[in-house]
Symmetry: C2
Subunit: 193 residues, 2 copies
DNA sequence: TTCTATAGTGAACCACCACTCAGGTTGAGT
DNA sequence: ACTCAACCTGAGTGGTGGTTCACTATAGAA
C-alpha cells in the first residue's frame, strides 16, 4: 500500500522508545496507563507519540500483536519438536507453563491470548489453530490426550488463563488441573516440579 | 451503630428502583455504566442515588454482595443435599454449571466470584471455604474427586470461570473440562446433557 | 551551506464521569 | 390543616485522559 520510505533516524529512535515504554508500562499496570505517561517515560511529547500511533488502540495493537507473534513462535517450535519425535503432552505442558508464567508477569498476555481466539488477523488465527491441531493430533496418536479433546478446547483453556491477579503458586496449580482435564489419564500429569 | 429508623415510603421505593436498575445495567454491560444512566433508568435524579449510595463503589458492593449471598445459598443447599445422601460430584457439577450459566448472562458474577476469594467480609469468605471443604471431603469419601484436590482448588477454578465473552457452548465445554481435571477418573464426568 | 519535507513540541480542547450542593418537595406525625 | 425533618432535584464542579494543531526544530539531500 504505502511506499516504504525509510524512517528518519530520530523518528526511528523515538518510535523504538515509545514501544519500549508502552511495553513496560502496559505489562506492569495494564492498558489503563495514560498516553501522557507513556510519552513521558519514552522521553517524547504526546504529539510525537500520536505521529507514530494515531490512536491509543493502534499502540496497544502494536504491543499485543507482537506478543501474539511471540506466542505463535513458541507454538511453532513446540510443533517442530513434536515432529522430531518429542512427546506431544510434554510439549503442551511446557507451552502452557511458559505462557502462564508470562501471564503472571505481563498483563497484556491475557489480552493477547484473548485476541487470538476472537479477532486478530485471520491469517494468524488460522496459523494458531493449525499449530494446536497438530499438537492435538499427536496427542491422540500417542494416547496421552483425552480422545474428545480438540484444538478449540486448547484455545478455550488458553484464553481463560489467569494473570497476575493470582499468585504464582495458584497459577502453577491451575495449569496442573487444566492439563488433567485434557489428559486421557490424570495420573500422567503428576510430574512433581 | 445507627438507629434503625424506618425509611420513608418514597425513599424505600426509590432505593428499590435504583437497585433494580443497577442490577440490570451492571449485568448487561458491567461496572462501566455511568451513575447518570443508572439514575435515569431508575427514574431518579443523581442526587437521590447518592443519598442512598454515597459512592459508586457502595452501589457496586450492594449488588455484588447480594450476588455473593445467593451463590453461598446455592452452595449451602448443595452441601445439605450431600449430607442427605446425595452425590458430592453430582452436586459439584450442578453447582458449577449453574454458576457458569449465570456468569454467561450477568457480568457481575465474575466480580462476585473474584471478591469471594480475595476480599468480601471474612465471615462470608470463611463460610464459603467451609462449604467447599465439605464438598471436597465428601468427594474424597466417595472416591469421585482426585485425592489431592482441595477446597482452594475449587475456589481457584471458580474464580477463573469465563463470563459472557464466551458463547454458551464454550462455557459448557469449559465446565466439563474443569470437572475432568478435578475428578479422580475423567470418565466419570461424561454424562451427556 | 542551504533548503525543505519530515518530525517534534506541548498547551489547549473536549468528552466523559464521579460527585456536590443550594434550593424545592413531600411523607408522616401531631 | 400544620410542620419539619427527611427527601428529591439537576445544573454545576473538578479531575482525568484521549486527541488536536499552530508553531518550531532538524535530518539529510542537493
Amino acid at each position: 500500500m504505502t511506499a516504504p520510505h525509510r524512517l528518519r533516524a530520530d523518528a526511528a529512535r523515538n518510535r523504538a522508545n515509545i514501544l519500549r515504554a508502552a511495553r513496560t508500562l502496559f505489562a506492569a499496570r495494564g492498558e489503563v496507563v495514560g498516553i501522557d505517561e507513556i510519552a513521558r517515560e519514552a522521553g517524547v511529547a504526546v504529539g510525537t507519540l500520536y505521529r507514530h500511533f494515531p490512536t491509543k488502540a493502534d499502540l496497544v495493537n502494536a504491543i499485543v500483536g507482537d506478543l501474539a507473534h511471540r506466542i505463535f513462535t513458541a507454538l511453532d517450535e513446540a510443533v517442530a519438536r513434536i515432529d522430531a519425535g518429542g512427546s506431544a503432552f510434554a510439549e503442551l505442558t511446557v507451552l502452557t507453563e511458559r505462557i502462564s508464567d508470562a501471564a503472571g508477569v505481563d498483563r497484556t498476555i491475557k489480552a493477547a491470548m484473548h485476541n487470538l481466539g476472537v479477532q486478530a488477523d485471520p491469517g494468524l488465527a488460522d496459523k494458531g489453530r493449525n499449530g494446536l491441531a497438530r499438537i492435538v493430533e499427536a496427542g491422540h496418536a500417542e494416547g496421552s490426550l483425552h480422545p474428545d479433546v480438540t484444538a478449540a478446547d486448547l484455545m478455550l483453556m488458553m484464553s481463560t488463563m489467569p494473570g497476575d491477579e493470582l499468585p504464582e503458586e495458584a497459577r502453577r496449580r491451575w495449569v496442573q488441573l487444566i492439563l488433567r482435564g485434557l489428559a486421557a489419564d490424570p495420573a500422567r500429569v503428576d510430574t512433581g516440579g
